[in-house]
């Protein structure tokens, strides 16, 4: 069981989707690079909810919020880029 938590756990989860990568550029387009897609989205959302401790309401988000590591950090971890 992983002991990594918070934002690092989110990165770690995304890396499991592309085992050929060892890191993800914060501005890399996650959708274009097939790290995140619609079929994998809900499981990813639950990772985000678990790590932020908050349920994410879909009416409050847009697809662009999930496009890059930086946009995820900014939108869900309330940190600047």
């Amino acid at each position: 069981m992983s002991t990594v938590t918070g934002f690092d756990a989110v990165i770690q989860y995304l890396l499991t989707k592309r085992p050929d990568l060892t890191s993800i550029d914060p501005d890399l387009d996650l959708v274009e690079n097939r790290i995140l897609d619609s079929l994998g989205f809900v499981n990813f959302l639950y990772v985000l909810e678990e790590q932020t401790g908050e349920e994410i309401l879909m009416e409050n988000v847009t697809p662009s919020d999930f496009r890059t590591i930086n946009s995820i950090r900014k939108r869900f971890f309330h940190e600047s880029e």
Binding site: V31, L36, D37, S38, L39, G40, F41, V42, N43, L45, Y46, E49, E50, E55, I56, L57, M58, V61, P63, F66
Partner: protein, 296 residues
């Protein structure tokens, strides 16, 4: 002039005619046919216990019977909410195709499907709202551009078929389970009755469209379709385990419980049972090369 996607086929036409007759014969008024008691008893199961996501899992060993009853209530609300979401997609996709040149052959039957699915969505949503106070929201997002063309038609009908088959696994068993409240049994039994026709149609159209694609697509392109559908099945199965349902049932650490359930061999055994019929069909039709799904 291009040929329609759904080309004239004597066998398919005969099946469609028969399904239309059966739909007419079994037609009912959903708004008057159910009893809706004000409340349902909370000291019993709302889902067949063996069909709960937690059944037989390690994490369930620490739950009391009362906690399992609560999970069964909220997992049933989640299950019917997934039905509402799936039906919304189904109706939208069928509406987009009805009376187009490509689907002229099946348009008469599409009218029956749309009507029946609208009834299903109404009684599933009513159950959720009446006994759970909400329909769990669809957490999906369309991130990529939607594909078009014949492959897209195939994937739409394959998704709809697989959604219906997974749901029907539960409906058939819960409709027959006399441990469940009569209202719960009835909505499942009625849905099973209608879905058996929709599944019969779905299998015909999916086989038909895939046969046409096999003549046009490369092995690599067909493998991409297979992977997409396997990942769709993974998403559908995982969607049955909703942390919000655990939270509403008063279970601490709902996300951790979800992760443990998804990793538990008992859940994979339930998954194997619920997908057995679909997997046999997909492998026998040559749509899948094996019955192995990707991990969560």
């Amino acid at each position: 002039m291009s040929t329609p996607v759904l080309q004239a086929d004597a066998q398919l036409q005969s099946i469609l005619d028969r399904l239309v007759s059966m739909s007419e014969r079994d037609h009912y008024d959903p708004y008057t046919m159910f009893d809706w008691p004000e409340t349902l008893p909370e000291d019993q199961y709302w889902m067949t216990p063996e069909l709960l996501s937690i059944h037989g899992t390690k994490v369930a060993e620490s739950f009391t019977e009362e906690q399992k009853w609560a999970i069964s209530k909220w997992e049933s609300v989640n299950f019917y909410s997934l039905n509402v979401d799936g039906i919304r997609e189904l109706i939208t996709e069928i509406i987009a195709r009805i009376h187009t040149k490509d689907f002229a052959l099946s348009s008469e039957y599409f009218h029956h499907m749309i009507g029946e699915e609208n009834s299903h969505m109404w009684f599933f949503a009513r159950f959720c709202l009446l006994y759970g106070g909400k329909v769990y929201p669809d957490k999906g997002v369309q991130l990529e551009m939607k594909s078009e063309g014949e492959s897209a038609h195939f994937l739409v009908f394959a998704r709809l078929l697989l959604f219906e088959e997974v749901v029907d696994f539960f409906n058939k068993r819960m409709g027959d389970d006399d441990r469940l409240h009569p209202t719960i049994r009835k909505i499942n039994a009625i849905h099973h009755q209608d879905e058996s026709r929709h599944v019969a149609f779905g299998r015909q159209i999916v086989s038909h469209l895939h046969r046409q694609l096999r003549e046009k697509l490369s092995t690599e392109e067909l493998a991409e379709l297979e992977l997409y559908l396997k990942r769709y099945l993974r998403k559908s199965v995982d969607g049955l385990v909703n942390p919000a349902a655990f939270k509403d049932a008063g279970i601490p650490n709902p996300y951790q419980v979800r992760n443990e359930v998804l990793a538990d061999p008992a859940f994979h055994e339930l998954e194997r049972k619920m997908l057995k019929r679909s997997m046999s069909f997909l492998v026998n039709e040559g749509i899948f090369t094996d019955d192995v799904l990707p991990r969560s």
